[in-house]
């Protein structure tokens, strides 16, 4: 039986990626791992954008490139976010010597 890849296949993978990332943010205790999971969620969005872009064929037969434009901006912004985020995490590690999020409780009322 011959099968072709449809939009739904891509969306399923991207949905799974998003779910894995989100679950990681909620469940993991190590802040570096949490940060990696956040990047997974952005990748999931990127995959969806490319898939939607490829399957939205315009009148001229070309894909709708808007989605791919947003993707490049997402990659750039994610890089900026990582640069700032890791700097903050390093500063925190220097003062606490731990990457466990359970240790950050200076402000409980």
């Amino acid at each position: 039986m011959e099968t072709t890849l449809t939009l739904n296949h891509f969306l399923a993978v991207s949905g799974a990626l998003f779910a894995v990332g989100f679950a990681g943010v909620l469940l993991r205790r190590n802040i570096i791992v949490i940060f990696m999971c956040l990047e997974l969620m952005l990748s999931a969005a990127n995959l969806s954008l490319v898939a939607f872009s490829r399957f939205h064929i315009g009148a001229d037969g070309a894909p709708n490139y808007d989605g791919q434009v947003l993707l490049f901006f997402i990659i750039t912004v994610a890089a900026a976010e990582v640069a700032v985020g890791l700097a903050i995490i390093v500063a925190l590690f220097r003062s606490r010597e731990t990457t466990d999020v359970g240790a950050f409780t200076a402000m409980k009322n």
């Binding site: 969306l11 998003f18 990332g21 989100f22 943010v25 802040i31 949490i34 940060f35 956040l38 969620m41 952005l42 999931a44 969005a45 990127n46 969806s48 954008l49 898939a51 939607f52 872009s53 939205h56 709708n64 808007d66 989605g67 434009v69 947003l70 901006f73 997402i74 912004v77 900026a80 976010e81 700032v84 985020g85 903050i88 995490i89 500063a91 925190l92 003062s95 606490r96 999020v101 950050f104 200076a106 402000m107 009322n109």
Partner: protein, 497 residues
Amino acid sequence: MPAYTLEIIVVCTGLAMLLIDAFAKLEDKRSIAWLGLLGIGAAFLLLFKVEPHTAGVEPESAFWIFYADDRWALFYKGLALLATFIVLLLSAEFEEVVRRHIARPGPDAHPQAGLGEFFALPVFCCAGLMWMASATHLVGIFVALETVTISFYIMVAYLRRNAGSLEAGVKYLILGALSTGFLVYGFAWLFGATGSMELKAIAAALRSDDVNTTAALFAFALILVALAFKVGAVPFQFWIPDVYQGAPTPITAFLSVGSKAAGFIVLLRVAQPFLESPAFAEKTALVFAIMAGATLVYGNLAALPQSNFKRLLAYSSIAHAGFLLMIVAAAPKSGAPDALSPAAAVAFYLAAYLAMTLLAFIVMTVVRTRQDSEEIAAYRGLGKTSPFLAFCLLIAMASLAGIPLTAGFFGKFFAFALAIRAELWTLVVLAAVGAGAGFYYYLRIVAEIYWRDPAHEDGSGFPIGTPLKIVAILLMLAIVAFGVFPGAVLGLLAAHS
């Protein structure tokens, strides 16, 4: 002069501040802040010289797909500029505390080393806020929102030697990045459902019959989660108290005003196509109503037992988000378009919120600089030691509570009026309970400052610099003026439609 000149001026001011910090030998780095004030002030004055772009007259450039310069955009640009101006003044005042909490790179380094960026970042953030007010394309909205959010990550965590500030920075970072993930995933689905990134085209697609309802609603839910994080709506409000408490005080002020206004601009722009489309209006309005009710109850009740003034204002900001969401929920059923529009009510509420919150934060910054505490107990007897600051707080708290003849009263009044016109009775009752609780916890502060004896008996007050004093007086005048003549602000919004 086209509107985007303003953003260019603000970005150039920020770059100039960074360059001067890097290359000029300054005696006092606070002069960088004065330069920023100059640039922001100039941009604010030029705001009144903007000639709106007229569609169809000049050769259409693709630029106007990405950028709107209608009166709403200009109004929010003005708010962003005003907020940044006051925050820069506060940052200059706060210089001493920042210096205490960041490490000097070496014994012979400049005593204010590492302070230049503290003044430059709010300016870049302001450019992001201004762009967001105009963005009409999902790419523009995303980039502007991230400009604001990423500068806030740095500003919140700026006090590197202060455990609270770092921890607040990490919490804001993780939850902010999480909401970004939801936002872009939502944008991807919105693009998939409608085939466009332009808000106008999205609105047209949502009104047509051939849109996939499930996909569009899924996109809406994801975007709503992200924006609820930004504005601090229940159930995504849990980061607000910790981050507000840990961040440097001027940055908390900026966060509560700038970040909230930014969230609501984007919320209004993105939700509008859904609220106007007959197929989606009822479902989306219901979600907003539930969210507004939960936010009102949570924000107001959780504020009651607070003993830290900054934390109290954090819960108060959640409560105000509830009133703003109530306006959004009432939008589809608010009746004739010639009457008070929901967008105008939101704009008025945000303007009033800006004035009263910044006034409270001016007092808080002055007190925090002289006395290392933000507990409410530190404000006891302020009426005897510093009558001017106490009077500022009195006006701010009265307006936040919504006492008549203040701007806050009309903000709440419009919210109630729209909700009653839309017949959201449950929401009106919850809002009334919330407003009642608000009277208690805001006026408790007033009681502390006027009817209790000072905590320290030396009787010395808190001196306040002349520029800050002038700004505080202007803010008080604005609060009372908006409270007596609310039509002036609404007229400004209707003037050049």
